[in-house]
């Protein structure tokens, strides 16, 4: 045995530690992977040893390897072992490893609950700290639920180091277990005024994070934050608060008005750039929220814009970046103020830093007007040419398109110019945004009727020069534009000058190398062009041209018939047969043009994206009704659930009915398919990968590869610049004409003329180059107005949307509920008073008290009866709502002390002793001292007094309370029987010392011990559970709850959380649960649910305890 120990320690002497491992890896640069794999083998050996030091060392090395990307989840159990070491050194290593590699899917996490709880209540603050830090990284919903109360207790720990960590981790707990938010919130709020700045900062942090997601629930805290903002000197806290106000102001404009002044002061006074920047940001947010209501804050806007200009002009790139970022926010509501800095922003477009250029681009978006659009786009086009790196160029491209197409092409006066810009953009090499350009082309061509002729001509040229776009393999993205080009040429072929030439261009063998979906469009539109050609030559007898066209199609289409792409093949073979038939008819001199054209007749109108959804259901149409009776032979068992299903979710069943009349619809579907093929709005979002298909007959055709590295000037294509020139000329002409007219007018009616037209022309003066008819999107008649909420249902923060001001009955109950423990002392907590939550109530009482004061000037007793049962707090709950905006309201409470019991800890080893933690908070302006705590003992429960003390003696509270300070004291009670809930009356006496005098005061309170508070969450395995039930020692009782309208797992979670049960087994809507009292009574529950009824069958070896527990459960649910 001794030998083994010696051997163990010798082995250990030669173990590598972390430094050795790192050094080894550095020395094996060539065969790092091999070296690490031997190291992992060594680590595996080390983990097998009993010595915890060796294990910790191994885990420490694993943490390093995890950083290098090695999966170390296999060692999860060893990590838990190291975490549970009693030594801080090892514990810290274990928690570090756990925080790096544990996650919700790690199954050993279940095993850590008790260890963590033990560490949280460790007397060593650093054990607790390490556990909190680790937990913050791997907390799961289960851990959050089980440990919520332990952590809440720690929020009132005596050490600020623990308090701040506990406060901060609560955010993670809320995220994983939203139900804990409500009970924890009052305490969290208190921590905003914690004497320790670190704790305060943590509380601010958590509340800001919560409020950012659901700001409206935190409006009532605005006065408190306002106070903090004006008093705090910690820049971190200030920044957080100011950011929070930025989120709150949109909800409460009155807040914004109050904020402007202090924020402006801060902007003027602070030297910290970060603070200045956040102030400016929040002022902007305020101005945005005010912009509708308040007319004049131009001074503030000017101040912001000025400060931002200073930032942007700064040599520090970071400030420049942030300045632009904030500028873009102002832009939305006050574009005029930003537009005056156009020079600065355009200058930033030339910055060497890409992030800054991108920000400047964002700003351009809002700065365009009809007047300067062409100019700005020209500048951007220059940048496009200069830009290196595709990302930035692609960004430019999308921005150009965004700018031009914004609000329904509002700023475009000349669409010919826009089309030519789009065509110029197709020359970009390697852009990913071919489809974007394509969809713009389609959009413009369809919606602007006047431009179709020009667009078609351009597209025809594009098709003719398609080889320039596709010739270079790098340009794959751009070939998407051919899709648009082909479609436009086909659909609006009546505008084509020479359809025959375009048709020829579309049927070149090279086309077969394009992606399938583009080829398909080519083929389909070739047919349209064919129809146009026939129509053109209609009437001519024995038209040579028409027959040549047919022959061309018959010659070229077989290439597409062989395509590997189904769509192409199908369409090609269809059209080929059609053309062959037409050719036959032509040879017989039959007039066919009319009929062929009819194939493609009809006007296309754009449809609004939500049009389909908004079609109102006609009166009398029941979409859920069977059109045909369902087949009678369907089994009766199936029918019932179906009916239920249809009743509950009619939307789902809708699709089923449509199947019934499928045959009827088949014909219509065909028509629709045809429409879809022609409709550009069915354009696929992502281009399918290009398939190069070597069709026989392609290779021998000589294809001239033109591969130019310089940007191509497509012959015959117009340059957008020329439009710019033309536009300028046109405008000048117009202006001149207008001036002439005006002069005329002036002559006519001089008196009324007030326009001095020496300044820049206003927007309205610019008339579009040609009458543009922008077709609006079609909506069905009687479209239902609907605002679709696009909120992400998976957002974890959604669950935290809890209105904390609203009085919810069960929350009161929650507060006396005490949670769980397995090995360690039970933690209970329940405040005596609805203290901080019901400020109003206090204020009322204060008033009353003040009135009393007038009457009898000397003694006045504050009697705060607070009944844990909460009867009187129902009245409290009806207190009128707090006004959200009594900003800077002083909390001068005349004379007030508060007693709160947060925790009652039962000690498992000693089944009759319970520790009660009481928090004393001095809310008065006076100094409190000589506090004495006394409780009137009952037969059952006694306050433990020091030896030699009498049965009714008070216990001295071992501290004094300066104004505004709180502290915690613990008292031990001995409890005989735990089967009944109990109440104890108590009194606190203290001396109030003010400047002049000192008075004796008294405060009465009640302690309430519920039966569930004696229960301890104890896990139980299903076989042990079964044995327990079989033993027959337990007596049963049951409970039915009606109208419970919550998901089953919520129900279970609530029972677990409020009543300290643990789930043994759960099958569908049935679960068995277990708990144990501090005196060892077993309590078993079988919870079943159907519809809205929950039945609970319970068994316990102590019937009266069970009865009381069930009553309490009933109470919990009756209040929700």
């Amino acid at each position: 045995m001794a030998l083994k120990i010696v051997k163990g320690s010798i082995d250990r002497m030669f173990d590598k530690n972390l430094q050795d491992l790192v050094r080894g890896i550095r020395n094996h640069k060539d065969d790092e992977a091999k070296y690490i794999s031997t190291c992992i083998d060594e680590i595996k050996q080390e983990l097998k040893q009993d010595n915890i030091a060796v294990k910790a060392n191994a885990v420490c090395k694993l943490t390093y390897l995890q950083m290098l990307g090695y999966d170390v989840s296999w060692a999860a159990f060893n990590i838990v072992e190291v975490m549970s070491s009693s030594k801080f050194t090892y514990k810290r290593i274990g928690y570090l490893a756990a925080s790096q590699c544990f996650h919700e899917g790690t199954d050993v996490i279940m095993l850590t609950t008790n260890q963590i709880r033990k560490d949280l209540s460790s007397p060593n603050q650093y054990d607790t700290g390490v556990a909190l830090t680790g937990l913050s990284c791997f907390v799961t919903p289960d851990l959050a639920r089980d440990l919520a109360n332990d952590i809440m207790t720690l929020m009132s720990h005596t050490k600020p180091y623990i308090r701040k960590k506990a406060v901060l981790i609560m955010y993670k707990v809320f995220l994983k277990y939203p139900e804990s938010l409500r009970p924890a919130f009052p305490r969290l709020k208190e921590k905003l005024e914690d004497p320790d700045p670190g704790v305060q900062s943590a509380a601010v942090n958590v509340i800001c994070e919560l409020a950012r997601r659901n700001p409206k629930n935190y409006l009532s805290l605005a006065p408190l934050f306002f106070k903090l903002m004006t008093s705090s000197t910690n820049n971190w806290v200030l920044i957080k608060i100011i950011k929070l106000f930025g989120a709150l102001t949109p909800l409460e404009p009155r807040l914004g008005k109050k904020l402007i002044e202090p924020l402006t002061n801060l902007i003027h006074s602070t030297s910290a750039m970060s603070l200045l920047y956040e102030c400016v940001n929040t002022v902007i947010a305020v101005l945005i929220s005010l912009s509708s209501g308040m007319p004049n804050h131009s001074a503030s806007i000017q101040l912001c814009v000025q400060k931002l200009r200073i930032l942007i002009e700064d040599s520090d790139q970071n400030l420049k970046y942030l300045g632009l970022l904030a500028m873009s926010k102002i832009l939305k509501t006050h574009p005029k103020s930003v537009q005056s800095h156009k020079d600065l922003i355009l200058q930033c477009l030339d910055d060497k830093d890409e992030s800054i250029r991108l920000r400047a681009l964002d700003l351009l978006y809002g700065m365009v007007s009809k007047k300067n659009l062409m100019e700005i786009v020209k500048k951007l086009m220059l940048h496009v040419d200069k830009a290196e790196g595709t990302t930035y160029r692609d960004e430019l491209l999308t921005k150009i398109i965004d700018i031009c197409s914004q609000s329904n092409f509002q700023y475009i006066t000349n669409f010919e110019w826009y089309i030519s810009i789009l065509v110029e953009l197709t020359r970009l090499e390697g852009t990913r945004h071919g489809h974007l350009i394509a969809s713009q082309m389609l959009d413009v061509a369809i919606r602007v009727k006047a431009i179709r002729g020009f667009a078609v001509a351009q597209m025809a040229t594009l098709l003719d020069n398609a080889h320039l776009l596709t010739g270079n393999t790098q340009r794959n993205g751009i070939c998407e534009v051919l899709y648009a080009a082909a479609w436009i040429c086909g659909e609006f072929s009546e505008h084509l000058e020479d359809p025959m030439q375009t048709l020829e261009a579309m049927l070149r063998p090279k086309v077969a190398t394009l992606p399938g979906h583009i080829q398909a469009v080519y083929v389909q539109n070739a047919a349209k062009l064919f129809a146009t050609v026939l129509r053109k030559h209609d009437g001519e007898t024995e038209s040579q041209a028409a027959q040549e066209t047919s022959q061309l199609l018959i010659d070229r289409l077989p290439l597409f018939v062989q395509s590997a792409n189904l769509e192409v093949q199908e369409r090609a073979s269809c059209i080929l047969q059609l053309v062959k038939y037409i050719q036959k008819l032509q040879q017989k001199n039959v007039e066919v043009a009319e009929e062929v054209t009819a194939l493609f007749a009809g006007e296309l109108n754009p449809v609004a994206p939500k049009a389909q959804k908004k079609v109102p259901i006609p009166e009398g149409l029941d979409l859920d009704a069977w059109i045909n009776e369902p087949p009678s032979e369907s089994e009766s068992e199936d029918e019932k659930p179906k009916a239920v299903f249809a009743k509950e979710e009619p939307k789902h069943s809708r699709s089923r009915h449509t199947e019934v009349d499928e045959k009827e619809l088949a014909r219509r579907r065909e028509v629709r398919k045809q429409e879809q093929a022609n409709n550009p709005f069915y354009i696929k979002a992502s281009p399918s990968s290009q398939k190069v298909y070597d069709a026989p007959g392609v290779e021998h055709i000589p294809v001239v590869q033109i591969d130019l590295s310089v940007p191509l000037k497509v012959p015959g294509m117009p340059m957008s610049d020329q439009y710019l020139k033309l536009e300028v000329e046109r405008r000048q002409k117009e202006k001149a004409e207008r001036k002439k007219k005006e002069k005329k007018k002036k002559r006519e009616k001089r008196g009324k003329e007030r326009k001095a037209d020496s300044g820049p022309e206003s927007e309205e003066d610019i008339t579009p180059a040609h009458q543009v008819d922008i077709v609006t999107e079609e909506m069905p008649e009687n479209a239902l107005p609907s605002d679709d909420d696009d909120k992400d249902p998976n957002d974890p923060h959604k669950a935290l949307d809890i209105d904390l001001d609203k009085y919810v009955p069960y929350c009161r109950h929650l507060q006396f509920i005490h949670v769980l423990h397995i090995i360690k002392p039970t933690v209970y907590w329940f405040p005596f008073q609805k203290s901080s939550k019901h400020k109003k109530k206090k204020q009322k009482k204060e008033k009353e008290e003040k009135e009393k004061k007038k009457k009898k000037r000397h003694h006045h007793h504050h009697q705060h009866h607070s009944d844990a049962g909460g009867e009187d707090s129902v009245q409290n709950g009806t207190v009128e709502e707090e006004e959200p905006l009594p900003v800077s309201q002083s909390h001068s409470v005349s004379l007030k002390q508060e007693v709160k019991v947060y925790d009652i800890q039962g000690n498992h080893q000693d089944e009759s002793k319970v520790v009660v933690s009481v928090i004393f908070e001095n809310k008065s302006d006076s100094f409190l001292k000589s506090m004495e705590f006394n409780v009137l003992d009952s037969l059952n429960s006694k306050l433990q007094r020091p030896e030699g003390a009498g049965a009714h003696d008070s216990l001295t509270v071992p501290f004094q309370l300066p104004p505004g300070v709180s502290n915690e004291a613990r008292f031990v009670f001995s409890v005989q029987s735990i089967i009944m809930p109990q109440k104890l009356k108590g009194t606190l006496t203290f001396i109030v010392k003010s400047d002049e005098s000192s008075t004796h005061e008294k405060l009465d309170f009640k302690l309430h011990f519920t039966c569930t508070s004696y229960l301890i969450t104890t896990p139980c395995y299903s076989d042990a559970y079964a044995k327990l039930l079989e033993s027959g020692d337990l007596k049963g009782s049951s409970l039915r709850l009606e109208g419970i309208n919550m998901p089953f797992h919520h129900l279970l979670a609530r029972i677990c959380f409020h009543h300290h049960f643990s789930v043994v087994e759960r099958i569908d809507s049935c679960a068995s649960m277990y708990s144990r009292s501090i005196q060892g009574h077993h309590v078993c529950l079988l919870v079943k649910t159907s519809d809205q009824t929950v039945s609970i069958d319970a068994k316990c070896d102590e019937p009266s305890l069970l009865g009381n527990v069930l009553d309490e459960i009933k109470q919990t649910f009756s209040k929700c």
Binding site: F14, Q19, H103, R212, N318
Partner: protein, 201 residues
């Protein structure tokens, strides 16, 4: 919220990573590579903010980084954090690392966090980081407080380490003797740290 803290060198080798949201190991490495790719191609005289990468974050997230000699310190944060504040925080952390782990660098400029120091004391740097950022939220920014807490914990470790870790230490000390590049072992407890009164902003 801070989503991740990444420290890697000029070649993209991770020196310390801390994710406050779970990613599998291979994903973590991909994120490091992507972040390195984004950051390393930037000049030193451009701004320190970067739109988030495709793997980590999303539209709400930003990368905020600083480049010191051979190391990149990258924070991935959402819009609730102040950009300039985080930049200061990075500076602060560098400072703590040099104060708490490598006392001998105290008289040097704190921007000279030596990569080698970081490599060999990854665990210690983690412990310091834990006192500054917890669960993705900034825990403490008061320098004196952080230094004091880290020091106390190290002292505690030292008092425990007297028993079991001694032999292993002796061995590694022997092993270290012939290697000149290795930084000396530092005992923080002995030295009284005077924190220069830098304004945190």
């Amino acid at each position: 919220m801070i989503k991740a803290i990444l420290i890697f060198n000029n070649h993209g080798k991770p020196r310390l990573i801390r994710f406050y949201q779970y990613f599998a190991e291979d994903m973590q490495q991909q994120i490091i590579r992507e972040t390195f790719h984004l950051v390393s191609k930037r000049d030193d005289n451009v701004c320190n903010f970067l739109e988030g990468g495709s793997l980590i974050g999303g539209s709400d997230y930003k990368l905020i980084y600083r480049h010191y000699a051979t190391l990149y310190f990258v924070f991935c944060v959402d819009s609730s954090e102040s950009e300039l504040g985080i930049l200061d925080l990075i500076q602060l952390i560098c400072f703590f690392v040099s104060v708490c782990v490598f006392v001998e660098t105290l008289d040097k400029c704190f921007e000279n966090v030596c990569e080698l120091d970081l490599i060999f004391h990854m665990d210690k740097v983690h412990y310091i980081l834990q006192e500054v950022v917890m669960g993705g939220m900034v825990l403490e920014t008061n320098m004196n407080e952080i230094v004091a807490q880290v020091e106390l914990q190290n002292r505690m470790e030292k008092s425990e380490g007297g028993l079991s870790a001694a032999p292993a230490r002796a061995v590694s000390a022997v092993k270290n003797m012939n290697l000149p590049e290795i930084p000396r072992n530092i005992n923080i407890g002995d030295i009284n740290i005077k924190v220069p009164s830098l304004s945190p902003f």
